[in-house]
C-alpha cells in the first residue's frame, strides 16, 4: 500500500466522523521518515524486492470486537480475570514512582492478584501514570494495541482526567479518554498507593460485573479514536493498528 493510498483511506475515514475537519487537515502534514518509505531494494542475488517497512513488519488490520461468550463461563472467566490482573511495566509519567511502593512490602499489591508483566503481550492492565506527553502517547498506543483483549486502562492522577497542572502545556494531552478508552480513573496529584489499590478494587468490581469491556469499545469506535490520535501525533510512522 503506498503512502497515497493510506492517506486516501485515512481521509475517507476522517470525513466519515463529523467533528474532525481539523484532524484531516493535520493529517495532511504527516510525514514519513525516509527509512520508512515504501521503496524497491536490490537483493544480494540481484532480484528487485519491494519493501514497505511499516506494513512488512506489522499488520494494519483493524481490530474487531471480540464478544464475551456470556453465561456462567463468562462469569467464571471474569472472576479469574479480576483475581489475576497483570499490569504492563511501563511508567508513562511521574506517577510511575508510586508503583514501586505498591509492589514492595508496605502495600504489596501481589496479595490482590496484581502482578507486573514485562511485555504487553502478557499483560492485560495498563496504568497510565500521570501526565502523558504526545511523544509518550504514541508509545502508549502502540503498547496498548499489542495487548491481547480483554484489556483495561487505569488512568492515574488528575493529568489524565483534565490535564492537571499541565493543562496549558503544548506537549501534554488533557483528556486521556479522547485517545484511549479508560476503565478506572484514580484522582489525585499524585494519588497515594492506597488510592491505586482502591482503583484496582474498583476495576475488579467492574470486571466481575462484566462491565470492563473497553477493548471492544475501542474496536467499535476505532475510527474516532484513531482520528483523535492522528490529530496530535503528527510523526505517525507506524501502521494504523499495529500488532
Amino acid at each position: 500500500m503506498s503512502e497515497l493510498d493510506i492517506n486516501d483511506k485515512v481521509n475517507e475515514m476522517l470525513h466519515k466522523s463529523e467533528h474532525n475537519a481539523a484532524a484531516a487537515e493535520c493529517f495532511e502534514k504527516t510525514f514519513v521518515r525516509p527509512e520508512d518509505e515504501e521503496r524497491e531494494v536490490i537483493a544480494p542475488d540481484g532480484s528487485i524486492i519491494k519493501v514497505n517497512p511499516i506494513y512488512d513488519y506489522f499488520s494494519g488490520k483493524k481490530p474487531t470486537e471480540e464478544k464475551p461468550c456470556g453465561g456462567v463461563v463468562e462469569k467464571f472467566l471474569n472472576w479469574a480475570r479480576a483475581e489475576s490482573i497483570w499490569v504492563l511495566g511501563f511508567g508513562t509519567g511521574c506517577g510511575s514512582i508510586e508503583i514501586p511502593p505498591l509492589m514492595t512490602p508496605r502495600f504489596d499489591a501481589f496479595r490482590f492478584g496484581v502482578q507486573m508483566r514485562p511485555t504487553p503481550r502478557q499483560s492485560n492492565a495498563f496504568i497510565i501514570s500521570g501526565y502523558l506527553s504526545v511523544k509518550t502517547l504514541k508509545r502508549v498506543i502502540r503498547s496498548y494495541e499489542q495487548m491481547p483483549s480483554p484489556k483495561y486502562i487505569l488512568a492515574l492522577g488528575s493529568c489524565t482526567i483534565n490535564g492537571g497542572m499541565y493543562y496549558d502545556s503544548y506537549s501534554t494531552i488533557n483528556r486521556l479518554d479522547k485517545y484511549l478508552p479508560v476503565d478506572v480513573y484514580i484522582a489525585g496529584c499524585m494519588p497515594r498507593p492506597e488510592a491505586l489499590l482502591a482503583g484496582f478494587m474498583k476495576l475488579k468490581e467492574l470486571i466481575k460485573a462484566g462491565k470492563a469491556e473497553k477493548a471492544n469499545e475501542y474496536a467499535r469506535n476505532f475510527d474516532e479514536y484513531k482520528a483523535n490520535q492522528k490529530k496530535i501525533i503528527k510523526d505517525w510512522n507506524m501502521p494504523d493498528y499495529n500488532w
Binding site: 493543562y167 490529530k231 510523526d235
Partner: protein, 186 residues
C-alpha cells in the same frame, strides 16, 4: 577574573560587563566576534569547561539573546558570554567544533527557538518533540495556552487558582498583604 576582562576589553569590544561575584562575570559581545571570543577563552585563558548554552527571547527589543557559560577549572571562575541575534530567521555561527556537547545544545535551540546553526551535526533532527509543525514553542509569541486549548480537548468545568493568592486566602484570611514586593520580580 577582572584582569582577564580588562585585557580583552578592547580586543572584543565588550559591553555591559557585570560581576555577579568576584569569580563570575557576564559580558556582551557582538555576533561576529562571539565564537572567536569563546575559542580564545578556551584556548588561551583556560576556560576549558563548557557549562551550558541557553537562549532568552527579548521580544520587546525584537532580539534573541544567546548565552555561552564557560568555567575555568584552575582559577575557579566563570564567564557568561552573551550575544544578541536578530529575531527574524535567527541564525548563529555554530561552535560544535569546540565542544561536542554543543551538538545537542544547538539541536535543542533549533527546535525550541528556531535558531539555525549551519554546519552543526544533526541540528535538523527532532530533539524532544516529534513532528512539531507549529512555530518554535519557546518563543514568547507562541501561545501555549491557546494551542493546548485548540489541540487537546480541554475538559469543561476545570477551574484553576493562582497558588499564592489561593493559599494566602485559605491560610491567613484576615491578614492584609504586607510582604514587600521584590523589585527584581516586578
Amino acid at each position: 577574573m577582572k584582569e582577564i576582562l580588562d585585557r580583552i576589553q578592547s580586543k572584543y569590544n565588550l559591553q555591559d560587563t557585570s560581576f555577579r561575584t568576584d569569580t563570575m562575570a557576564f559580558t556582551t559581545v557582538s555576533k561576529e566576534l562571539a565564537i572567536d571570543m569563546v575559542t580564545y577563552m578556551r584556548d588561551y585563558e583556560g576556560f576549558k569547561h563548557f557549562v551550558m548554552m541557553s537562549c532568552v527571547d527579548w521580544i520587546e527589543d525584537n532580539k534573541l539573546q544567546l548565552l555561552y557559560l564557560l568555567n575555568n577549572p584552575t582559577k575557579k571562575c566563570d564567564i557568561g558570554i552573551k550575544v544578541f541575534i536578530e529575531r527574524e530567521n535567527p541564525s548563529m555561527q555554530s561552535a560544535h567544533h569546540l565542544w561536542k556537547q554543543l551538538w545537542t545544545y544547538q539541536r535543542e535551540l533549533k527546535e525550541a527557538f528556531g535558531i539555525d546553526f549551519p554546519g552543526s551535526p544533526r541540528v535538523d533532527e527532532n530533539f524532544v518533540l516529534e513532528g512539531w509543525t507549529e512555530k518554535p514553542h519557546m518563543l514568547r509569541d507562541f501561545d501555549t495556552n491557546k494551542y493546548a486549548e485548540e489541540t487537546y480537548f480541554p475538559r469543561e468545568g476545570r477551574s484553576t487558582n493562582d497558588p499564592a493568592t489561593y493559599m494566602r486566602a485559605k491560610l491567613y484570611p484576615n491578614q492584609p498583604v504586607t510582604a514587600k514586593k521584590n523589585k527584581d520580580h516586578e
